[in-house]
């Protein structure tokens, strides 16, 4: 037993860039991939890790001094650098139990389909990382790995139920039959739902807006290099940098925002043979059953409303980060706030005014969650072994996905009474949301039948 323990410790001490590919190789071979293919995928994962370390270190290296100068000059202390979701997805794999989330998600989905507890067949294996991330956060905060797994199980079940719930609307908005988005990103609809009910009662808020036209006009601000340069320049000036130094920071910031997705892509590339094998297995298993195929949210990315709402909320998030008391996060790589907009698009059925209001009222929630979770994200990042975060600085994610849900899970996980009560209220609200949208789905269906 001691020998085994020593071997495990030795492997873990090699650092994430070595042990994660090793696990990937073993998992690939178990999934009956050819050795050559499994080896190449494993190595790509190691490259992805190393590349992401470079980008995170480059980003913190460029931004930290400016953030510190800003703090000394103005007293605004924003000492958590934002690595965005690409950063979080990367470091999540460094958790030693990460790969266990694959079989967990698959098993729960199979059981729920067999018992007809869900209609959703989730073939999106990329977002297994979000379950890993939840499990890490909850296990760090509760001090119990088991609690991390229980939290992940709750998330997987709710994702599948969300898939059932949003299926008809996803199909209507995308024009793609038989699909849905079983992604926890939609869970934010839960706390926005009361606002949506209220906004539906206010007649002025249902005005039609030409989102396609607006997107043509402001779309450029959503492009990574433009946005990075603007934020870099603003940060440089705010930190009291000279013009030349500010311009340098602008280019560095643009570079970081362009490099993040480039490196993150390598993770998708490494995981794609595995995810392909799994989704084929799942589809074959249930090919005679009528299901919604669960895909990642970008099938909704053709809606201009989504991008208009995201771009307009960028300055909102920046301003909030400065004026909110207690906020410590400097929005950067995560500033494209997808974390509210997917839920808002579905909940408001593409009503752009409603979506914008939702983006504004939830902005503080994301920043506070980002501040709260920053020490734990930093701990995870440091466990990678090669990520270098300067003393006094932290790593975080300004648009921390599912802020309410993960916060409550973390507190319930340490048996905090308020956490447990909060989670119960959250689940009751989810039940209300489910009933309400389900009713609207059915109403739509019968109306559709009448017309045809």
């Amino acid at each position: 037993m001691d020998v085994l323990k020593e071997i495990v410790n030795y492997v873990l001490n090699l650092g994430a860039a070595v042990f994660v590919p090793l696990i990937m190789l073993i998992v690939g071979l178990i999934a009956r991939m050819k050795f050559k293919e499994a080896f190449s995928a494993a190595l790509t994962l190691g490259i992805a890790f190393t590349g992401m370390t470079l980008v995170i270190n480059f980003m913190t290296g460029a931004i930290s001094p400016a953030a510190q100068a800003l703090s000394e000059r103005t007293g605004i202390t924003l000492n958590a650098v934002d690595g965005g979701w690409p950063g979080m997805a990367a470091i999540s794999w460094a958790w030693p139990y990460a790969f266990l989330l694959f079989p967990l998600q698959i098993a729960i989905n199979i059981v729920m389909l067999i018992f007809n507890w869900t209609k959703t067949l989730n073939v999106d294996m990329w977002n297994v990382w979000s379950k890993i991330f939840t499990a890490v956060m909850v296990s760090y905060i509760s001090g119990s790995i088991a609690m991390g797994f229980i939290a992940a199980i709750i998330q997987i079940v709710l994702e599948l139920k969300s898939g059932d719930l949003w299926g008809p609307r996803v199909q209507e908005l995308t024009g793609i039959p038989g699909v849905t988005v079983p992604h926890h990103i939609t869970l934010l609809a839960n706390i926005m739902h009361p606002f949506e009910v209220l906004m539906n009662k206010i007649p002025g808020l249902n005005k039609k807006v030409d989102a396609d036209y607006l997107k043509e006009k402001i779309g450029i601000f959503g492009e990574n290099e433009v946005m990075g340069a603007i934020i870099g320049l603003l940060l440089g000036f705010a930190a009291g940098y000279s013009v030349s130094k500010s311009l340098t920071l602008a280019v560095q910031a643009a570079a970081a925002l362009v490099l993040f997705p480039m490196v993150s892509k390598l993770f998708a590339q490494a995981l794609s043979p595995l995810s392909e094998a799994v989704s084929e297995f799942m589809r074959n298993k249930f090919k005679d059953k009528e299901v919604y195929i669960g895909l990642d949210w970008p099938i909704l990315a053709g809606r201009s409303e989504l991008w208009v709402a995201v771009i307009i909320t960028i300055p909102v998030l920046l301003v909030c980060s400065i004026i909110l008391p207690g906020n410590e996060v400097l929005p950067f790589a995560g500033i494209i706030n997808l974390s509210f907009v997917v839920a808002a698009l579905l909940l408001a059925n593409a009503n752009i005014i409603h979506m914008l209001i939702m983006g504004i009222i939830t902005a503080p929630l994301f920043l506070y969650a980002a501040t709260f979770f920053a020490p734990y994200i930093t701990k995870l990042a440091r466990s990678v072994g090669t990520v270098d975060i300067p003393k006094g600085m932290m790593l975080s994610w300004s648009t921390f996905e599912s802020p309410d849900f993960r916060f409550l899970l973390s507190f319930a996980g340490k048996f905090n009474v308020w956490g447990i009560i909060g989670l119960i209220i959250w689940l009751v609200m989810f039940y209300w949301l489910y009933k309400d949208i389900d009713k609207k789905n059915k109403l739509n269906q019968t109306e559709g039948r009448k017309i045809s």
Binding site: W126, S264, A268, Q269, S272, S279, P298, A301, G302, I336
Partner: protein, 99 residues
Amino acid sequence: MAKIIVACGSGVATSQTVASKLNKMLKERKINSTVEAVDIKSLDHHIKDADVYVSIVKTNKDYHIPVINGVAFLTGMGMEMEFNKLVDAIKKADAKKGK
């Protein structure tokens, strides 16, 4: 060589999953083309020098190049048909370029 692009929300996950799958399928058919994943926010830049666009969203815009339904490669439904369409489009683009 024809240039094929797939776009998704950030040019990272969904698009790269489709791109990897297509690259594998094209290799098996011995077709010398590569598929690149791009960010949908910058689609207008990328589409300028592309020959085929594999879309995972519904689009009413006219891109002046063949558009293939990329969702088929995620759900597995109608995949063969879309792949044949892609192969045809690649062959046409290659012929036009005179290789």
